[in-house]
Symmetry: C2
Subunit: 671 residues, 2 copies
Amino acid sequence: MDLNALAQANPDHWSKATAIRALTLDAVHAANSGHSGMPMGMADVATVLFEKHLKFDASNPDWPDRDRFILSAGHGSMLLYALLHLTGYEDMTLEQVKNFRQWGAITAGHPEYGHAKGIETTTGPLGQGIANSVGFAMAEEILRARHGRKLVDHHTYVIAGDGCLMEGISQEAITLAGRHSLGKLIVFWDNNDITIDGKVSLSDRTDQVKRFRAANWQVIEVDGHDPAEIDAAITKAKTSKKPSMIACKTHIALGHAAQDTSKGHGALTDEAQMAAAKAAYGWTTGPFEVPGDVKKAWEAIGARGAPERQAWAERFSAASERRQKEFTRALNFEAPKTLSARIKALKKQISEEAPKVATRKSSEMVLEVVNPIMPETVGGSADLTGSNNTKTGDLGVFDTDNRKGRYVYWGIREHGMAAAMNGMALHGGIRPYGGTFMCFTDYARPAMRLAALMRIPTVFVMTHDSIGLGEDGPTHQPVEHLAISRATPNTWVFRPCDTVETAEAWELALTSKETPSVLSLTRQNVPTLRLEHKIKNLTAQGAYVLADAEGKRQAIIMATGSEVEIAMKAREILQAEGIGTRVVSMPCMELFEAQDEAVRKRVLPAGPVRVAVEAAVSQGWDKWLSGERGRAAKSGFVGMDSFGASAPADVLYEKFGITAEAVAEKVKSLL
Amino acid sequence: MDLNALAQANPDHWSKATAIRALTLDAVHAANSGHSGMPMGMADVATVLFEKHLKFDASNPDWPDRDRFILSAGHGSMLLYALLHLTGYEDMTLEQVKNFRQWGAITAGHPEYGHAKGIETTTGPLGQGIANSVGFAMAEEILRARHGRKLVDHHTYVIAGDGCLMEGISQEAITLAGRHSLGKLIVFWDNNDITIDGKVSLSDRTDQVKRFRAANWQVIEVDGHDPAEIDAAITKAKTSKKPSMIACKTHIALGHAAQDTSKGHGALTDEAQMAAAKAAYGWTTGPFEVPGDVKKAWEAIGARGAPERQAWAERFSAASERRQKEFTRALNFEAPKTLSARIKALKKQISEEAPKVATRKSSEMVLEVVNPIMPETVGGSADLTGSNNTKTGDLGVFDTDNRKGRYVYWGIREHGMAAAMNGMALHGGIRPYGGTFMCFTDYARPAMRLAALMRIPTVFVMTHDSIGLGEDGPTHQPVEHLAISRATPNTWVFRPCDTVETAEAWELALTSKETPSVLSLTRQNVPTLRLEHKIKNLTAQGAYVLADAEGKRQAIIMATGSEVEIAMKAREILQAEGIGTRVVSMPCMELFEAQDEAVRKRVLPAGPVRVAVEAAVSQGWDKWLSGERGRAAKSGFVGMDSFGASAPADVLYEKFGITAEAVAEKVKSLL
């Protein structure tokens, strides 16, 4: 590249873009780690976007109607940090940029949602950002349809690299966006021909332009270093009814000795090469120094959106008080005041009627109560609507001709669904939930982990949660998936035993502000076990005494979900033999662990033998079986230690020995 | 559809295809569950494939040079079972078909590898089969290049549905196949426009033809009920240098009242409708009865390949004895006799030289020894070759012009890589290993689970296995992934502490025949701790005493991987204070659990306090901390209870309190 020609053709643009490149070089040098090449290659695109198109106001970064900018290629985090710093985001100080990748800095190796304003989502695991963006764009469509263009009318911009586009999840995202004609979604492809291992062609020769067109996208090809071309492409993309992909031919690590090589992807810390690159840019200031006029120009860009934001604020003030409240309530993940009362009423009714239904059906019963009073919920399923019981009567189906629809047919895209739900939650104004078979937690895992890491309350409705799934066999029967979700920090795993607990679990999931929930629900029918109505949400304690011992307490049986019924039957057997047995229902281990020790001890006192029963692997149970502080009870576990099998559910429970008789025998063997 | 016209146009074909449809209806009816529509829709395609093209010999189902037939749309399992039964596979008796989906039957809800001959892979989780098939086809290319066309020259045929094509993994598979011009891979797309939730268009409007062409595939469109068109398409596909996708326009549940509806996807058990469908087919025999002439015609198809197989057997016998042995040895996952000696020699050398290296580097050192003597290994990485240390000097790179290459640049496709590796292992003759960052276990999970379920010894090289990854931050730092893999049945999770243990772990992984291995390896350097050479593979015991207490044994510190060094330093601190401390290295919990109780007790005797240290969540450790049979020691855990952070590795260990001092303090607090 002839940098001189570029600089002279657009000197103002060039100095601004160079500020990004220089800050990147300096920060990576200071950290002695990081990824220099992407910010250096995409600085021109980002500069044009921020200067001419992105609707934002650096002084009001939370403005709900801002455009969203998503750095799907999250390793290029310095691009984002540089932009936020240069445009004047208050928290992105120069000090933070200098502390790139250091303990306590908001400038983590990859952009972390919540660390700084302007970071719309956590990226780094490739493909997640572009899949989040589908949720962002859907949220915008839904809220625009609901609140009108005056309050909601913004674009979602994404920078994605070859890595994002090679990940399978990108196909799920792209085809969803194409299916739903998400015209306000604009993706820049950083087409630099380089991956870590070398040339892209080493591993891929996909014609990305044709691929996107096959998915109903508009594609525009530009020179990623030509501001005019970039500007024109964005202008064109903004009016498209289809989502747009702007293929930006770029040079990774532009102007550096490592330009156009895989070395350029990583940390470019050689001082002589850095100096040479800066000289080639015509950049003469010291490390981390941005010339005053350039900084001022960038700050003007950061302030460019202020009048528009002000106009929006006035429109918002002019809206009805009710609308303002609802808008703000949903944005803040505040549940409506009526939720608690409705849940209580449902619990009471259920305790009286005592239906015997699958907890996936219980979940639907709860949603039938909840969805009408929580317009912020958006439900869906990865092509298992009738099995996951996620669709209620009033939702309407989200589609090109029904943007108000609150139910999404996600198709066979568990991963894309999970990531797009995260995007909806991150956008704000939507509380998403979506279903698949629990075994396919595996497909959705990378996005489920990110929900936990980002502290957003996405709800994963995982039905058919054990061998109780039956004939579909071990490929569809989770045995390790409770352990998997429980091992993940900041995740609530609910496994309710009946409709009452399901209602309580949903109440917790729907009032959560910072923790995603996994609802583990049965395919098979289970009886109502909470026959005595309690106003208190017992599931909130994580575990509680469902039935206490009669006579001397010799045993405690702990169970979750469909196995609580088995525990109760085992208790009957044992009590009939004079063995005092307490049954503890443990619908949420994480919430139980969060209780005071005194509470935990009241539920699980030392002394009695302990047996846990769960149709899953034992991992995670030992902590409750062994007792606290080493004062372990004699204990045992009844559950799975292998994959399941294909047969009717009742046969499987019998064959795998998960029965009331087996639990009672286990207790007796320990006494 | 005018069934009459179809029947009259090709009566012989029609009766054979109808046998599949009728058996499907009968088996699903008997099971009262299953998926009728897909086998009924794809019966014509399958009939033409088996009758005219598929190279197989039902009486010799293991013939190594057979074509592979992969039912990626695994829910249509009755298609496969019907085909295997009709063509005369010995184990697929009528009794088995009648016991479809019942306990103990080989006819599981979804095809399970190992249950019956002719089931080449376990499918059901959508997209896995098509991704496996890429590995099958690559294995064929590699082995053909190595052994010549006389011994290896076969096709891989796949039936994939809309579900498979919507899953992201299919994009990874398709682009890999296109990149490598896997011309012997032929995929039939069951283009029936239906998913469980309704019309495909509800959730997807992708132009699949253009999508495949964008990935360098040949696409041929046919009427999926026209035998001549299907035949011509397969003939054309077989000569293509590109992989071929044959788009088959079909009617799901052909001829049934539920034809062309989502209801047709599931179990069609209504007896009147069944009878009507059979009448429309002109099928007059009773349930499970196939007219003698039709069965005979099918059996002739099953025997069609016998002469070809015989000719192959003769060619094989004519090959050199050395080649025959090597061919067979690799097929049977037999390690070469020299492996054990080489590993021992390396261990001895390492114990003497005591290098301080990252275990990912240790892994490379082992592979440098192993790969030259094990031509069946095929290595690779999902675009992290230099970080995963998976490439050794002698492998050569698999490419269109180097089919002998044994290293695959998988690109940014962790999921596709894992599934394709499974395909290679299933094909036989290849022992695959591949690397990514351990955190991206998440992306590969569905395929890793299937390796465990299928009992195949795929090796997953997972480097950067803790916060020791450092500055890339929590998106890249596994904390729950050891627990995730350990929760999975039939999976060996190795976390070696130094190069000696890494060599031992690799030896176990490379001699495994039925269990996949996860190698959890550090980014950061660790010292050699096994300074005294032992011939015995201590890792095979799962856990062992690395350093015993001096004086009275008051404490046992258990650790894995990079934290064994910390455990040893904590021991020094404690011994200096007169506290006798044993250090147990536990590189593989699963193998330790498999030991006799006596062995476990020798390593972890009751009495001393126990502290475990691992830079990961504690889940899975309680079992070792609490002691067996309830005789728990006082115990503690030093590790992670949250996600990590972005900072240099040593800072993170300090900040998260995973230090020798913290471990020593924990021990003292328990004494």
